[in-house]
């Protein structure tokens, strides 16, 4: 795919390719973190599914010391949106006693940087919507600006090597390093660079 005519979106089959490249890379670079897994959805004529990372434990960022009640558990799902043709981050979060947390509480606890990301971009905002596969309310980062900033990201970062075409296998790691910030998911820098060694 030529970068100049690329609109920042992915086809659903590219999403599957990108998802598998992403899970492998995540395992290699973050061996101690829980792995992402592909959750296939029964479809007769095509491959469909989403990426899932559950029970991710994130310490409350504002505390220096962490007590057990300061631990937050996150479930992250990356779902492909056929309308926007981009990945969408769905998440939910609960405290150590299993109580789900409300958006207000989540936003209060986000690191300052995340709040900035959310504030600065009118495109990135969190809403509670139905999970397209689970049909239950989940939080979601709205995808309507994703293609635009993904295109910018790929055009402006020389380390992504876009001169050789759009590197589909890097799409999700670049994307998660952006959206992860908005929800306090820290992504190691190594995830976000260069084509395959």
């Amino acid at each position: 795919m030529d970068i100049s005519s690329w609109d920042g979106t992915l086809s659903s089959s590219d999403f599957c390719l990108a998802a598998h490249a992403f899970t492998e890379k995540w395992k290699r670079i973050n061996p101690v973190l829980p792995p992402w897994s592909w959750v296939p959805q029964a479809k007769i004529t095509m491959v469909e599914g989403y990426l899932s990372l559950e029970n991710m434990c994130i310490l409350r960022s504002c505390e220096v010391q962490s007590y057990s009640h300061d631990v937050r558990y996150f479930d992250f799902h990356i779902v492909y949106s056929a309308s926007y043709r981009v990945p969408v981050l769905y998440f939910r979060t609960y405290s150590s006693d299993g109580q789900p947390l409300l958006l207000e509480d989540i936003e209060k606890e986000l690191p300052g940087k995340s709040t900035n990301v959310l504030m600065e971009s009118k495109w990135t905002f969190i809403t509670q919507e139905e999970h397209p596969y689970l049909n239950r309310p989940w939080y979601k980062l709205h995808p309507c600006g994703t293609s635009e900033w993904m295109k910018l990201l790929f055009l402006t970062d020389p380390s992504l090597g876009v001169s050789q075409g759009v590197p589909v296998e890097l799409y999700l790691s670049s994307w998660i390093s952006m959206v992860g910030q908005a929800v306090g998911l820290k992504v190691p820098l190594e995830m976000f660079n260069k084509r395959k060694e």
């Binding site: 609109d7 086809s11 659903s12 089959s13 029964a42 479809k43 007769i44 004529t45 095509m46 469909e48 056929a82 309308s83 926007y84 043709r85 789900p100 809403t127 509670q128 919507e129 139905e130 397209p132 049909n135 239950r136 309310p137 709205h142 309507c144 635009e148």
Partner: protein, 333 residues
Amino acid sequence: MDVGAMGREAQKYVWEGAIPLQIHLHESEVTTLPHPSPALVLAPRMGYLPLLLPLLKPHFSSTLPPGVDTIWFEYKGLPLKWHIPTGVLFDLLCAEQERPWNLTVHFRGYPGNILTPCEGEDSVKWSFINSLKEAAYIVNGNCKNVMNMSQSDQVELWYSVLNGNMEAYQRVSSKLKLEKVGDQYVGKPNSNLLKSRTNTGETDTGGPVKTDKCFTLRDAVKALLPEFFVEKTLIDEEISRIELEEESRAPSDDESNTRNEEDVEEKQRENVECCCPSDDAVTKLKLVRIQGIEPKLEIPFSWVVNNLMNPEHFLHICVCVKVPQAKPSPHDT
């Protein structure tokens, strides 16, 4: 009557469409005797259930226990999703078209683990705008026209939906420049035009293949749910073969094993049957319902979209499927 006038008349019917509801207050929220009588209201097809609050609250307020109102509805124990237009809920859940439609209303105990939170009219409005944005993105590749709508246009648009005012709606929505769907047959339908909760068509190859053939409602439904159409073309035979394999591989406990095999056999027989040239398509669809009617599948899809879509620019197609005995339909949600 020419086609255009027919379309305008259809739109008018759709906008004026309403469903008679008989709404009962859930008994756990009745604190007075005798029990309050059910409320009878006409709910616009294009509307959303929480918007009925101003009609229902006065009817039930005197008997409610103390607390804060968060209205939600259920039908036969199923909590109803408020972001789905009332007419679509009725078409989906009420295959027999019971009238009046008996619903139960709750003002307390919102099932937040099942339904997305609804804080009154504002939540409904934003859900509507978000759907409109999604539609704009599919049509134009961006949602700038919706994002940049003036405050007064946004208010007017929402009020036109709230009050079922078609003329006002058409005046404002024409500014969004969401092109009408064309008539031409699209050999490889653009998956972006077709979206389904459970299934999404997908194509990676370039532009649509244009022919003289008209793209019909049948073509559209088939693109979304190919598994319900078994046709005598090479590609479709391939699909049905895969389908049969999927079926036979489907995990099942010992008891249902035999039944599964019977299903497969039955399908194979269907395949053989549809090899006779007179039979154009053997479907397992029971009925396709849009805005309360069962349109002929030969109608051009563009006509269906342009005249029967909801104001958020989505066409809601309710598909009723014949379920093989004792096996849940993959499209039950």
